[in-house]
Symmetry: C2
Subunit: 346 residues, 2 copies
DNA sequence: TGTTAGCACTCTGTATGTGTGAGTGCTAAC
DNA sequence: GTTAGCACTCACACATACAGAGTGCTAACA
């Protein structure tokens, strides 16, 4: 519905505004870009674009600023074409990312932490990374490791090779052999269950088949529910709140406070990240955001998976005047990179 | 060296300035406080106080502002008298703190997290909490839990009842009994050692007494060094960066950026917190801080211990114009409260 | 000798006015 | 359909004026 010339002019305005954060005027466009058009003509086109809802005027005699609708068009026309190309990422950028990861990966947490840092550094915006915990893991077996006369450590091994443990009370005088017998029996009865299934009732049932000690049962229940809770917990990693302050739209302290308040509430951040559906890359612009407090921001979000299962979500949050091109390029690259790493964490 | 009247006037100026963040003038003092003195007299005293280094003038015709030296005097005379009293904490405050902790303690991390949150909420400043890991724990025994034909989980139990684990490769076809034999032998040889002592060489020595498989040895080394690293790692919890923006001294975005930059660098925060000696409550005012970037801030810091050993450090960081009285009261209270909780984490 | 009233002086913050520059919309000519 | 010209608008920068709060100094007072 937009002819080529309008489209071209709109793109110039968007990119100019993204770069300078200043309203763009017709003269500026004519001067900077060799369109073969006079400012007056451009003015007419801009007037049309404003009527169509793509441009806004802060006040009568300022240049014009892209509307959310304009960004939407801009992003949509870009995302598809960028699916397979590295986009604007330079070799240098990619090398930087690679080495960054290489240096500091010791465990999963490090991966997420590094991702948050890289994202914010490369995009000059706030980054949010949500790590899901594998709540679908299945119980494999458990083992008691004696600690003292009345205490032992319960180790639970799941089928994904992970391990959790908790402290439990045992009847005084119980021998190591007895503990092994107990754990063997219980393991048999629980094998294959999801951790989340193993609630108090099931545990009671299984336990009463092998022992009667109430104290031990109670501590078992507590330890396992703790482990289950820990396993279904999501963890949030943030990066680059500082970068925000470099953006002209956040020179206003009130706005910074607002956003910082949101970022500090872990629960809110989780809600925001969980709200994104899980279909590849998603860009939410301005008031498209459902959460009050970030309605004047844009967010680019991607979900990464391992064997079809969602492992986490990463997002970049910043002003609507965001370098979408760069952000999307970085996200695409990280997305691929992460799914490779996660598949084989060496 | 200061007579009572000077001392009194200085205190009034400090507290007034802490409350209003505005330079305090002689008239204001005379009006607000019934000292029985005219502004002129107060002016004379203030002039003296300035000469003595306790007051500063932003410019000729402004009121006066306390110097770092003044805060020093103020804090010193306060800390001692507050050791045993609840200070300015209301019953309400204390009840709030208690319930806050009660609600969300599941593990150690939660304790630290809550502490950071409470500190920042109650003091309206940034809070930093450093959690030490027990690096002095001694090895008790280890155990291998088979996972697959070629992999097992190594569990290490230490004398403080904690447990760590890591994934290791085992020779294909090794039986469970063989693994038990191996772990029993190694446990005997390593018992009583500090985790940090168990380096590659020692491990090689111990291991070669029981087996020859190189692959397993390599993965053992790696797993144990990972565990040792994790155990000596310190963890940082922050809270209330948002609160800073409520302080008039942080209306300047540049200053916020500066501080935020520091807080985002985990390493720097660790350095700052580790620098504090371990003697109870410590207040560092302005340029007393050795770290560039917080030289215009004050910090109140306390170290908490369990059985004589340092478990962590908590601190409140804010402008030199800080509500020392309140901050110190909160810290004192939390300090006592935490040491109780830590002793018996129920 | 310590305290105070009076006064001139200084400096900041706010309000007000003016000029400049960038931008627009409209009209008329090409 | 495009463009030159022109009047108009508005934000911003700058200067000037002014009120308010505070100071230091001096001289008078108890």
């Amino acid at each position: 519905m937009l002819n080529d010339r309008k489209r071209k002019i709109l793109q110039i305005i968007i990119e100019d505004y993204i770069e300078t954060a200043e309203p763009v005027g017709s003269r500026t466009i004519a001067r900077k870009h060799n369109l073969g058009l006079s400012p007056a003509t451009i003015r007419n086109e801009m007037s049309d674009l404003e009527l169509l809802g793509y441009l806004e005027q802060p006040h009568t005699s300022a240049g014009r600023v892209p509307s959310a609708q304009a960004y939407r068009l801009y992003v949509d026309s870009m995302v598809d074409s960028m699916k397979e190309e590295p986009g604007v990422l330079t070799e240098n950028d990619m090398a930087l990312i690679n080495s960054w990861y290489k240096e500091r990966i010791r465990n999963m947490d490090d991966i997420f932490k590094s991702t948050a840092k890289i994202l914010s550094r490369m995009t000059q915006n706030v980054s949010l990374v949500l790590a899901n915990k594998k709540s679908t893991a299945r119980f494999k077996y458990l083992k008691f490791l004696p600690l003292s006369d009345t205490r032992a450590i319960m180790c639970i091994v799941t089928d994904d090779g992970a391990m959790d443990n908790g402290l439990i009370d045992i009847p005084a005088g119980m021998s190591s052999a007895e503990l092994d017998y107990l754990s063997g029996k219980m393991s048999n009865l629980l094998e294959g269950r999801r951790l989340t299934e193993i609630n108090g009732d099931l545990l009671q049932e299984v336990y009463s088949a092998v022992s009667e000690d109430e104290v031990m049962l109670a501590s078992l229940k507590k330890a396992i529910s703790n482990i289950a809770a820990k396993n279904s917990e999501q963890k949030v990693f943030l990066g680059g709140a500082k970068q925000l302050l470099n953006q002209p739209e956040f020179q206003d302290v009130g706005r910074v406070k607002n956003l910082l308040g949101i970022l500090e509430e872990e629960k809110v951040v989780k809600d925001i990240l969980n709200a994104g559906d899980d279909s590849g890359l998603k860009v939410t612009i301005g008031s498209e955001n459902k959460f009050t407090g970030i309605k004047d921001c844009s967010m680019v979000q991607a979900t990464y998976r391992l064997n079809g299962q969602i492992v986490g979500t990463m997002a970049v949050l910043g002003p609507t005047r965001m370098e979408y091109r760069k952000v999307i390029a970085v996200m695409n690259y990280l997305h691929k990179y992460l799914e490779t790493i996660l598949k084989d964490p060496k």
